[in-house]
């Protein structure tokens, strides 16, 4: 019970900490800020997003995103700003382009190839 209370307090305090550190005017901006932080990768500890990371660079980037959200910049403007400096790697969701086509469509391609091979070998054999 005590443990439960403690963990509850920890969660509550961490929320209020985030809010006091990054106060925003509207709920819309707050939503934008928190969803952007979830989409962006911390480049030092690569499997964490910016919201979770405590690395120095993550802090700086969080501040930068905060400033831009506060200025009323759109998601696209902020993401363009960051990818112009750090490349697509900073995004957890890689954009669809020529270089990432295999990444996006590869699974479907391999499935299709598997079906074709199955059709050409196993199915052909039963007919004979």
């Amino acid at each position: 019970m005590r443990l439960l209370l403690l963990s509850f307090l920890l969660i509550v305090t961490s929320f209020s900490y985030a809010n006091s550190r990054y106060p925003l005017d509207t709920p819309r901006q707050e939503a934008q800020f928190s969803h952007l932080l979830k989409e962006l990768r911390c480049l030092v500890c690569q499997n964490q997003d910016l919201a979770d990371s405590n690395a120095g660079l993550a802090n700086d980037l969080r501040d930068q995103v905060y400033d831009m959200v506060k200025e009323g910049k759109s998601d696209n403007e902020i993401i363009n700003y960051l990818t112009a400096r750090y490349g697509d790697f900073i995004l957890f969701n890689p954009p669809v382009k020529a270089l990432t086509a295999l990444l996006w469509f590869g699974p479907a391609l391999f499935l299709l190839l598997g079906f074709i091979i199955f059709w050409r070998t196993c199915l052909k054999r039963t007919i004979i």
């Binding site: 030092v44 490349g87 190839l113 091979i117």
Partner: protein
């Protein structure tokens, strides 16, 4: 004949994937490609470490091939490359420093202790210029051409091996250009 081809195809695809993923194992995920290569240096104005009234700007780096080295006194790996940087400076390579999120007094003390290969050092206290450069750790070294365009970026300790492998060919091809 046709049937054998289709039967062999999965094996070929499998072999291709094995080679592909095997290669992936030896790639270092910490080494990110720089999108800044081919771009001019971002505009910056950084107070110089020794004389805070003056500024280091991209204009200081124009007219010659030079290095821009990102370092800090809190960065332990920076000590490792210092001997090599001093050697390069003695050979006449212009090296400029970007003191990344550091305390100026500590940085000056660090230079006394480990040596100073830099012509000028700009202090980036907030790390904003480093973000503009796409820096994600120290040390990082940028190769800048005569026109102030970034030609190469090296992440981590700069040593003899990466110098001869990556920097020298770049520098040689740049020297031929106007």
């Amino acid at each position: 004949m046709k049937l054998t081809f289709w039967r062999l195809l999965p094996v070929i695809v499998f072999a291709f994937l094995v080679v592909f993923f095997w290669r992936g194992l030896s790639l270092d995920p910490q080494k990110l490609p720089s999108v800044q290569v081919g771009q001019p240096l971002p505009e910056f104005k950084l107070p110089i470490l020794k004389d805070q009234t003056k500024n280091l700007t991209p204009a200081n780096l124009r007219g010659k091939i030079s290095l821009l080295n990102v370092w800090a006194s809190w960065c332990s790996a920076c000590i490792e490359e210092q001997v090599f940087l001093i050697q390069l400076a003695q050979q006449g390579m212009p090296i400029y420093g970007l003191n990344y999120k550091d305390d100026s007094a500590k940085a000056a003390q660090w230079l006394v202790q480990w040596g100073n290969p830099y012509r000028l050092i700009g202090t980036d206290k907030t790390g904003k210029v480093a973000i503009d450069l796409g820096v994600y750790g120290a040390p990082e070294t940028f190769l800048i051409d005569k026109h102030g365009i970034i030609r190469f970026r090296h992440v981590g300790v700069l040593d003899e091996k990466s110098w001869t492998q990556d920097f020298i060919p770049q520098i040689e091809s740049l020297q031929g250009q106007p």
